[in-house]
Symmetry: C2
Subunit: 257 residues, 2 copies
Amino acid sequence: MITSSANAQMKYISLLQRKASAREQERAFVVEGVRLFSEVPRQLLLKTYVSQRFQDEEIGKYKELFDGVNYEVVTDRVFDSVCDTKTPQGVLAVVRMPETKTATKNREGLYLILDGIADPGNLGTIFRTAEAAGVTEILLSSDTVDLYNPKVVRSTMGSVFRMSHRVCRDLAKEIKEMEENGIRCYVTSLTQSENYTKVSYKGATAVVIGNEAHGVSQAVLDACREHIKIPMDGSIESLNAAIACAVVLFEAARQRR
Amino acid sequence: MITSSANAQMKYISLLQRKASAREQERAFVVEGVRLFSEVPRQLLLKTYVSQRFQDEEIGKYKELFDGVNYEVVTDRVFDSVCDTKTPQGVLAVVRMPETKTATKNREGLYLILDGIADPGNLGTIFRTAEAAGVTEILLSSDTVDLYNPKVVRSTMGSVFRMSHRVCRDLAKEIKEMEENGIRCYVTSLTQSENYTKVSYKGATAVVIGNEAHGVSQAVLDACREHIKIPMDGSIESLNAAIACAVVLFEAARQRR
């Protein structure tokens, strides 16, 4: 049993929770809670920890989930100290990052391109929404908030393990290549734009969503041939980024069905 | 200048920030930040406070906004102590709640009915999204999170002042009356449901969205004649409540345009 937060494993977990650079270097991140733990593909599971209370009172309820899993027990106080959630459930795992696949350039694919999403809750919700809308792959600009940030991982509700994704150093270049490969790239913009319901998302299509405050970068705007907008009533200047993303993706899903 | 957090006005602000019951009794709430302050209709403005730093360095930039506004100056430390935001901007106002209107029973209206939304960020985002989608009025069950909670008010981005809304004690009864008045009520549900894109939202229509974890209550489910669902790909069990709301409302807006 681990009884001290000075324990090397506990220090390692704390580091992974706090630092994107450590996660990137180790190609590993932390998952908390029964629900999310149950979504981890076994081949990605590096190490599992449970709190003493969880071992005494809860683990019996999850026989199947813990079948064949080696875990380490940690005293409640130390366990809670390395958790990011306010009310830890008593299960935590160090997980290997899923392999990032190269774009399949699927001629029928529906791609989502995220340019600088900054809010962890938004990024997680966007992953969950994209999976539901049938997105083939998500491309993220390198200044997008880290996908393996604890709050992002939680908000994805497990989509982080299922949704194909990769980080791109030069999103504008990537978009130009996609356009050359016959993938129509639609960017939400306020100038010279078409109503988002009046364009076609059939065939290979990408939807581009920008940062919450500043929108899409100029280079990305210039790279996209098709500019779309969501008509808005009232005195609303813009929609939340995850909401705008959902509205366009589900219109695409409706047309493609 | 107010220099102590023991000052009666500061205690009053703290109370309004923390307690829904105090807000309800006083029919008042607190608004923070320049952006949100600029959205407050003048007739609802009860009292304005600025921090000493804001008075010294910032207020000159907002001449028009503060024209004719009487405000009280508060030392930075005390000002920050009564704020709910982590990085206060230096402007805060006590605001009267907008009058809640009775349902207009508009034969062309688009209504949104919220049954037990619990997350403050979700409720605020839903208000903002509903305004953009052209919703006529929002009806809230009495167990929905308090609309005048500081985090909800912030997330509405000002929609709280513009979007007509009222709290209903008996939502199921209200829905039955709406159905009798020819307003079709669509509830998102998982059983015996129609694809949400295959129904008509033309004419008087209401969309019902339930609690994040438990969905819509049985009484409300029973009261609605029309059950709809959003088809989902992947292993997704449900969408975030604000996302589901946006997807259905913008499909309604598309059809009604």
